[in-house]
Subunit: 310 residues, 2 copies
């Protein structure tokens, strides 16, 4: 963790870096050198999984949101990416771009949110950077973890595979987008099951992420069963005022961060999946396009997610 000279008075910067070094101090024997040098030195295995996603004020959260939850989201977004590979997260690097309005109290809330999320996932924060920005608050987390023997890829779907999702979808923008839990245990378990053919985390919306899976797999299409799609209570609440159905929100809303996965054959018993996740929501088909089975009829839905109408 280093502090940019351009960010503030060097003294204040160095004091903040020291504060972070204390906050993120770890006894993890894998951290050979953590915050406080030019770079971190980490024990790693033969295969490392790495993801790096930012959260930006005005894009992924708004000024009024709890900064502790913003920090949590910045960590959890990246843990969700690792979960979608079946990887166990281990180390985090954190880049903070702090705007002029940021107070010491705000900074403290943010970094404590990051620290709490990291602890909850048994991850060590091992480095990063702090700088001042003339623009919005940006928190960019890089997550590193150990790859499973067979990482879950996007490209394994074949016609006939059943599609599953680890939890209910829709309405995340009402607040869940800050509070979702990355499906780390589920991803790690799924990566160990030979019947699981592909996986992605639902960040752009079920239809769009399904389209991404199909495209990566060179699979022509899929049929979803409207009754089988788990709809989050927040989607039902949102439907009361949005002019759309709850199913519309479940199909199109993003930032659920549940895992969407394909399965060829029966999922073994045991493991961390909720019962609902064992019931297929649809099937990969040999005919092109995304279709929705609803009220006994089969009809196409568009892939743009939130542009369709159901």
């Amino acid at each position: 963790m280093s502090a940019d000279r351009t960010a503030a008075a060097p003294g204040a910067e160095r004091a903040f870096t020291r504060e972070l070094a204390r906050l993120f101090a770890t006894e993890d024997p894998g951290v050979l050198l953590g915050i406080g040098d030019d770079a971190a030195v980490l024990r790693t295995g033969p295969r490392t999984v790495a993801a790096c996603d930012p959260v930006v004020e005005g894009v992924h959260f708004t000024r009024g949101d709890s900064l502790a939850l913003v920090g949590r989201k910045a960590v959890h977004r990246n843990l969700s990416d690792l979960a979608a590979m079946g990887a166990l997260p281990r180390y985090l690097l954190v880049s903070l771009l702090l705007p002029g309005w940021f107070t010491a109290a705000a900074r403290r809330q943010l970094v404590h949110g990051i620290a709490k999320a990291a602890r909850g996932a048994h991850c060590a924060v091992v480095g990063g950077d702090v700088a001042r920005t003339p623009g919005p608050l940006v928190v960019t987390v890089t997550a590193l973890g150990a790859a499973p023997r067979r990482p879950l890829r996007r490209s394994g779907l074949r016609p006939g595979d059943h599609l599953h999702v680890t939890g209910p979808l829709g309405g995340s923008s009402a607040g869940r987008h800050l509070r979702f839990l990355p499906r780390v245990a589920e991803g790690a378990w799924l990566a160990g099951q030979r019947v699981v053919t592909a996986a992605i985390d639902v960040s752009d919306g079920l239809l769009l992420d399904l389209a991404t899976l199909l495209e990566a797999s060179d699979a022509p299409g899929a049929v979803l069963d409207a009754r089988a799609i788990p709809v989050h209570p927040a989607a039902h609440r949102m439907a009361l005022s949005s002019g759309h159905t709850a199913l519309h929100h479940a199909l199109g809303d993003g930032e659920d961060h549940e895992l969407l996965f394909g399965c060829r054959g029966s999922l073994p018993d045991g493991g961390p999946l909720r019962p609902r996740a064992r019931r297929p929501i649809g099937t990969v088909s040999a005919t092109p396009g995304l279709m929705l089975r609803q009220n006994g009829r089969l009809r196409p839905v568009t892939v743009a997610g939130y542009q369709h109408d159901v």
Copy 2:
């Protein structure tokens, strides 16, 4: 590499992600899974070095700067952090926050600058994220590399150690801050020399980074020899109009990204160091504070770098 739904029309986003996947395609056998899945999967050794620094419009560059050079700087800043540990960079993750004014042509210049710098350092760009931002352009690179057997730390200085710097300093803000070369070969060589006791890259300015080394080492102070400090021609040019001496710029200016290192004994012959780097610029002392020997006199200089007056 994933694209945020929030960043633009999903179609355009996905097209850009595909463009990046083509541009950053690699035959590096270490990249088991590159751009195009939820996370990258990389072959790693037992010890991985990781750094993550951003460049921000209005802080680390200005709107009129060449975007190819901005991309280069974003890569080289992080390679310099790895160089300061003596590590060889191997993989890069790139997070791009693109403002509304950003055109397709601007995007292309930026990513080609990143790609060229990565190729020049034999690094593969293996993942990251693209999102739109309401604020300034931000490029955050995470660099991963293999740690040497004995990484160069900041904490090894002892009184009596000679201080060295790999190249001339000062005046980088006149343009060199976009064009510096990370001292990767020098760092890797220094990490192999038992006489080298500590290292840092000069990003905040010689005096400030020396103060950081001394603090990390629990060393009381140092004496610098004004005649021995290599002054960059840009510092001489800057002195013509700044009202300061060229030495002032060499001591205080940041973003030189030369390596400042300590040495206990003689540096072996051979290796990539320039002759000038073999001549000490000063010595770690047992008496507190930073002192400058100039014109036969010894006087204190303040650690705030650009606030002193010489």
